[in-house]
């Protein structure tokens, strides 16, 4: 009852200075709005990146040469022999597919047009591991690998860049380092960022790549090996099996550290998540600064209000108001200002994040800002706290006024 009355009085007094109240609230609206919008964009970016990493394929384990954690001199390169050993079902029951990859940068030409891009030498299992489907034609088959065929499968973006189109290109011939290769398939567009765009990839049989395109001193060397576990439960086992097989394949003594590194998608995911987490906190921090400025606005206006109402405070004290009564009156007012600002700010922030999502989807980046209940709760509590924190000093100043001085104040 007493609280309700205090709120009603505070509303009356805010109502008496509408423009001023509006402008003060606006500061909080902008602060809370930007916190909400930036948090949602940050979270949206996080889940977009997570989604992209997941879209690469599931239950994947990556094996790379060398060891970052421990110093290993002259690590053995990964070879096709390693891949064959990993594919041995008896020793690796948890592994479904093994896909060794050779990679290099080459020059592609087609009727005078030429671009330099990367090429991947893969086996037939790569399409399964990376869940690649084809828009037209076929993917590399076992007979292509066995026969070292001069064929390529290209991504639609690559086709657009080199051939100017991505339909009716199957059967055409492009040149790699001057040698002709027949296009046997175009992959379906997966979408992606410029930094990791599977639609720009070009695939060729791994044997062809090793023989003719990416020559190494060790002839069956591969850049990395992707291993797909049978299901998500067997990822951990697949890592253990791969580790044991790789160690024996590289003839490592029990004391010797690994000369290869095994990572899985979960590692990439957690790295990406920690990066986007930092990004989100950073963005929210920027928003919080504007909320701070809004809070200072409240303090400023409450100080003005206390000065303006010095006589009123004196009268209230003369009539029996205690310090706590006056304190309560002004705190209610500032808390109300920031709470109204907070609620409006949530709405504004939500609209802003919708706008950002709309612009992002228009410019081809799939980013869906997420306004979570947690960020709404955070913004509400934070704005109320701002009101009380910045209202405290003016309210205390009002409460400490001496009734005589206050009554005499002109």
């Amino acid at each position: 009852m007493k609280i309700l009355q205090a709120i009603k009085e505070a509303l009356d007094s805010l109502n008496a200075n509408k423009t001023r109240a509006f402008l003060t609230i606006l500061g909080i609206v902008i602060g809370v709005g930007s916190v909400i919008a930036l948090l949602s964009v940050g979270q949206g970016a996080g889940s977009a990146i997570t989604g992209q990493i997941e879209s690469i394929g599931t239950n994947l384990v990556y094996i790379m040469r060398g060891n970052q954690a421990e110093e290993v001199k002259n690590p053995d390169p990964l070879t096709l022999r390693d891949a064959e050993a990993l594919g041995n079902r008896l020793r690796s029951p948890s592994i479904a597919y093994v896909s060794p990859i050779v990679q290099g940068n080459v020059e592609f030409t087609f009727s005078g047009e030429s671009i330099t891009s990367s090429i991947m030498g893969v086996t037939q299992d790569y399409a399964l591991v990376q869940s690649i489907s084809l828009e037209s034609g076929e993917f590399i088959t076992k007979s292509h690998v066995d026969g070292r065929s001069a064929v390529v499968v290209i991504g639609p973006d690559f086709a657009d860049r080199l051939l100017g189109k991505h339909v009716d290109v199957v059967g055409k011939t492009i040149r790699i380092n001057g040698y002709p290769y027949r296009i046997i398939g175009v992959t379906e567009a997966k979408g992606g960022t410029s930094f990791m765009n599977p639609d720009m990839n070009v695939y060729t049989p791994i044997s062809t790549a090793q023989l003719r395109i990416v020559r190494h001193s060790v002839s069956d060397r591969v850049e990395y090996i992707i291993v797909q576990a049978k299901d998500s439960e067997s990822v951990a086992n697949a890592i253990k099996e791969a580790n044991a097989i790789m160690r024996s394949s590289h003839r490592l003594q029990p004391r010797q550290p690994n000369d290869f590194t095994i990572t899985n998608q979960q590692d990439f995911l957690s790295i990406a998540q920690s990066i986007t987490g930092v990004l989100t906190v950073f963005l929210a921090g920027i928003g919080a600064i504007s909320l701070l400025v809004g809070g200072i606005g409240i303090m400023n206006i409450m100080l003005v209000s206390v000065t303006e109402r010095t006589q009123e405070i004196g009268l209230r004290k003369a009539l029996g108001a205690r310090r706590s009564d006056i304190m309560m009156q002004f705190l209610t007012e500032s808390a109300l200002l920031s709470l109204i600002g907070g609620v409006l700010g949530i709405i504004v922030g939500w609209l802003l994040s919708l706008l950002v999502g709309f612009i992002a989807s228009r410019s081809g980046t799939p980013l869906e800002p997420q306004v979570g209940l947690d960020s709404i709760l955070l913004a509400t509590l934070f704005s109320a706290a701002v009101g009380i924190f910045f209202g405290w000093y003016p309210a205390r100043r009002a409460a400490k006024l001496q009734p005589v001085d206050a009554l005499r104040y002109e």
Binding site: L319, G320, R323, D325, Q402
Partner: protein, 231 residues
């Protein structure tokens, strides 16, 4: 009158203000008693200390020395919040400039001291009764700017009597009014004293107002210069 207990008992009251390094002795030892039901006027030229004395009597400020008993209670040593309670329960204020809350209705203004006194149930009823007593039953929902000066001062009087205080302290109650309204306000204050028996202390420099009192205390240079009984 000596058979009644003094409602205000002041003994050797002093007040020293420090303005920079200069000490100003506003009161230099003032003693007097005011008995229940009396009407007393405090007069004096400006600078005589009458405003200071009125602040002391009204518990708006604490004296530098001396004792002040209000309604039998020693109040000169009380702290801020306790003084607030005393002001709320024992004193009804009437100011020269009415001092009403400008955005609130007459009724809300009258209810205000009850609110700070923690009164809940009968607030509205008491406020309406007080407004009726000052003849403003038809103006309860009006705001100060919709009332004349005399009417505003009536609201202030209703606010002063609503808590049934021991004393009403009026500081130049007619100072901002024309002579006719001033006369009406004085009549009203005197009639409140007659009807409710509330002790009335008026601080004024208007001899006509002082004439309505039973006793006049003249202050000069922080001391009581003379006391006269008005027949």
């Amino acid at each position: 009158m000596t058979d009644k207990a003094p409602v205000i008992q002041v003994k050797g009251l002093t007040k020293v203000y420090e303005i920079g390094t200069i000490e100003v002795h506003a009161l230099r030892g003032v003693s007097f008693d005011i008995y229940e039901g009396e009407i007393v006027a405090i007069m004096g030229p400006s600078g005589s200390g009458k405003s200071t004395l009125m602040n002391m009597i009204g518990c708006l400020d604490s004296p530098s020395g001396g004792e002040y008993y209000l309604d039998g209670e020693l109040v000169s040593d009380l702290k801020d919040d306790d003084l607030a309670v005393v002001r709320n329960r024992k004193i009804g204020f009437v100011f020269q400039k009415y001092n009403l809350l400008p955005r609130a209705t007459a009724q809300f203004n009258v209810e205000l001291p009850l609110r700070y006194g923690g009164e809940n149930g009968s607030r509205k009823e008491k406020a309406l009764k007080a407004l009726e007593a000052v003849g403003l039953s038809d103006r309860v929902k009006h705001k100060p700017n919709e009332l004349s000066g005399g009417q505003q001062q009536r609201v202030a009087i209703a606010r002063a009597i609503v808590t049934e205080p021991a004393i009403i302290l009026a500081d130049e109650p007619t100072g901002n009014l024309d002579s006719k309204s001033g006369e009406e306000i004085m009549n009203l204050l005197v009639s409140m004293n007659r009807i409710y028996g509330t002790t009335l202390v008026i601080v004024t420099h208007d001899a006509k107002v002082a004439h309505q009192a039973q006793r006049v205390i003249h202050l000069l240079d922080g001391l009581i210069a003379s006391e006269e009984l008005v027949s």
